[in-house]
Amino acid sequence: MGSKEEDRYLMLSGLQHFLFCKRQWALIHIEQQWEENALTVEGQHLHHKAHQALLREKRGNKLIVRGMPVRSHELQLTGVCDVVEFHLDPEGVELVGEEGRYKAYPIEYKRGRPKKGLEDVIQLVAQAICLEEMLACRIDKGYLYYEQIKHRVEVPITETLRETVQLMAKEMHHYFDKRYTPKVKTGPFCNNCSLKNICLPKLMNKRSVKSYIEGRLSE
C-alpha cells in the first residue's frame, strides 16, 4: 500500500459526524466547512488534555499511552486514539521495547454523559479495528470516558458493531470519491448542529427555485 493510496484515507473522527448526519459529515470533510460553537470548543479543550502524546505512564501492570496515531488499510481511515491502555496479559502480544505480552484497550474521552446514539461507540470500535490491524492482535473491548460523570463505560467490540463500521466507512468513501454532499431528512437534531448556518436545513424541504421564481413573476 503506497503513500498515494493513503492520501485517500478519511478521518476516523468523521464516523461520529456521519452517524449524526451524513450531510454534516460531508460539509466538514468534503466541503471543509467548520464553525465553532460552545460545544466544539469544549470538546477541543478536553482532547488537548488527553492528547499529550509525550506522556507515557507505567502503573504496575499497565502501560498508558496518549495521542496514538492509528490507521486501518481495510477501512481506509486514519485518526488518533486519545488513550490506549496496554495490560500485561499472557494472552496478549509483544510490544516493541517492552517485556512481556500485552492486551490493548482503546479509551476515548468525551465531554458530557453517555449518549443514546451509537456515535461514540462506533468511533471506539473503529479505533479498535485500527489497533488490531497495526498490532496484529484481537481487541474484545474498549472504554468511553465521560467527563461529566467522571467515569468510564465498558464497550464490547462485537461483530455487529464491526460490520456497521465497515459499511459506514464504505459509504463515506463512496460519497467522498464523488465529492457529493448528500441531502438528508431534517429533524430536531438540526438544532444541535454546529453547521446549521452553512447547511441551511430548511432548503431540504423547500419547493424548487423554479417555482419560487415563476410564482413571483406571475404575481
Binding site: 468534503i30 471543509q32 466547512q33 457529493y180 448556518n197 441551511l200 423547500k206 424548487s208 423554479k210 413573476l217
Partner: protein, 343 residues
C-alpha cells in the same frame, strides 16, 4: 441564522489602527482615541490613508474579519483577507461554470431577473404609496415594460443578450428615478448616472452606497468559501470583485437606491453636506459621510423576511444569505440560484 456583527468605519484619515489583546485601538499621535473589542466586528473599513499594524491585520485574518482600505472619497484601494476557507470543491465548481458561457448565463439571468423584478416593484410601490405625487400612468407603463424584459430574461441563455436586456431595463428605470425624489427637489435632482467622478449629490451618494454594498457582498462571498473575483455575468478582470458585482445587481435598487432615496426624502441629508471640486466632481463632507455610514449601519439592523427562505433576518445578512444560496446551488442542493425577489 448567523449573527449580524458590526462593521467599524474609520473616517479619521490620520488615525492608526493597532491591536491590544483582543481589542482594536485607534491611535492618533501615540494617544488612544478609542478602543473596541474585536469579537463584535465582522469587518473594518477605513477611509483615507489610515494605517494599520501587521499584528492587527494578522489577528483579523485569522478570525475572518475583513479589512478594507478606501480613499477618502470611497474609492477602493486594498483589502486584507485571511486564508480562504478551505472549500476547494466549491471553488472548483465556481471556476468550471465561470468558464462556460451557457452555464454562466443560467446563473447570471437570475441576477438580472432579481434586479429588474426589484426595480419593477420599487416603481409599483411608488404608485401605491404616492399616487398624488408621481405620474402613475408613466410609472405603470415602465413597470409593464420591465415585465417584458423579465419574461425575455427568464428564457435567455446568452450572456450578451442578457447584458443587452439589463441595459435596456436600466435605461427605463432611470427614466423615472428622478420622480422618486419627493423632497428637496431644487438641490437633489437626478439626470442619469454619472460615475468617476459623480457629478451631482445624488450620484455621489449612489456611488458611495454601491461601494459599501460591494464590500459587504465580497466579504460575504469569501466567508462562505466563494471567490469574490470570479464572476458569471461580469467577466474576470484583475483586481475586480466580479462575483460581488454580479451579486449586488439584484440588491442595487432595493438596498442601495432606496436607502439613498430615503435619506433625501426624509431630509436626513441636505445640500450643505456636499462640495464640488473644480472639475465638477461632487463629494460628501465628512459630516455627511459619517451620517451616511451611521444610517447604513442602522439599515442593516432592520428585520425582514427572506422571500425564499421564509426566515426573519436583518437586512445586513442579505448579502451573506444570497452568497450561501449561491454556494448551495453550485454544490447541487438547489435547481437554480434563487435571487432575492423583494416586494
Amino acid at each position: 441564522m448567523r449573527k449580524l456583527l458590526n462593521t467599524l468605519y474609520v473616517t479619521q484619515p490620520d488615525a492608526y489602527l493597532s491591536l491590544d489583546g483582543d481589542n482594536i485601538v485607534l491611535l492618533k499621535d501615540q494617544q488612544a482615541l478609542g478602543r473596541l473589542p474585536l469579537h463584535n466586528l465582522e469587518s473594518i473599513i477605513t477611509f483615507g490613508y489610515t494605517g494599520a499594524s501587521p499584528a492587527l491585520m494578522g489577528y483579523c485574518a485569522e478570525r475572518n474579519i475583513s479589512i478594507t482600505f478606501l480613499t477618502a472619497s470611497g474609492r477602493f484601494l486594498a483589502r486584507v483577507i485571511g486564508q480562504s476557507r478551505g472549500n476547494v470543491t466549491l471553488r472548483k465548481a465556481q471556476y468550471r461554470i465561470s468558464d462556460q458561457e451557457r452555464e454562466s448565463a443560467l446563473i447570471a439571468r437570475n441576477f438580472i431577473i432579481g434586479k429588474i423584478y426589484n426595480h419593477k416593484w420599487m416603481l409599483e410601490r411608488m404608485t401605491r404609496d404616492y399616487p398624488l405625487r408621481v405620474d402613475v400612468e408613466r410609472f405603470k407603463s415602465i413597470s409593464h415594460q420591465l415585465d417584458e424584459y423579465l419574461y425575455e430574461a427568464r428564457s435567455c441563455e446568452n450572456l450578451e443578450t442578457l447584458r443587452g436586456l439589463e441595459g435596456q431595463a436600466a435605461w427605463h428605470y432611470y427614466q423615472v428615478f428622478d420622480d422618486m425624489i419627493l423632497q428637496q427637489k431644487e438641490s437633489f435632482t437626478f439626470h442619469g448616472r454619472s460615475r468617476r467622478p459623480p457629478r451631482d449629490h445624488v450620484n455621489a451618494m449612489l456611488s458611495f452606497a454601491y461601494i459599501l454594498l460591494t464590500h459587504d457582498m465580497a466579504a460575504a462571498l469569501e466567508s462562505v468559501g466563494l471567490d469574490a473575483y470570479v464572476g458569471f455575468l461580469h467577466r474576470d478582470r484583475p483586481g475586480r470583485v466580479s462575483l460581488a458585482l454580479d451579486m449586488i445587481e439584484e440588491l442595487r435598487g432595493i438596498y442601495a437606491d432606496r436607502f439613498v432615496l430615503s435619506l433625501i426624502n426624509r431630509k436626513e441629508v441636505t445640500p450643505n453636506g456636499f462640495y464640488q471640486k473644480e472639475n465638477g466632481a461632487v463629494l460628501m463632507t465628512d459630516e455627511t459621510r459619517k451620517l451616511f455610514l451611521k444610517a447604513w449601519q442602522a439599515k442593516k439592523q432592520e428585520m425582514i423576511t427572506h422571500p425564499f427562505l421564509g426566515e426573519k433576518i436583518p437586512w445586513g445578512l442579505v448579502p451573506y444569505v444570497q452568497a450561501l444560496l449561491l454556494a448551495r446551488y453550485l454544490r447541487g442542493d438547489l435547481d437554480e440560484y434563487p435571487p432575492f425577489l423583494w416586494k
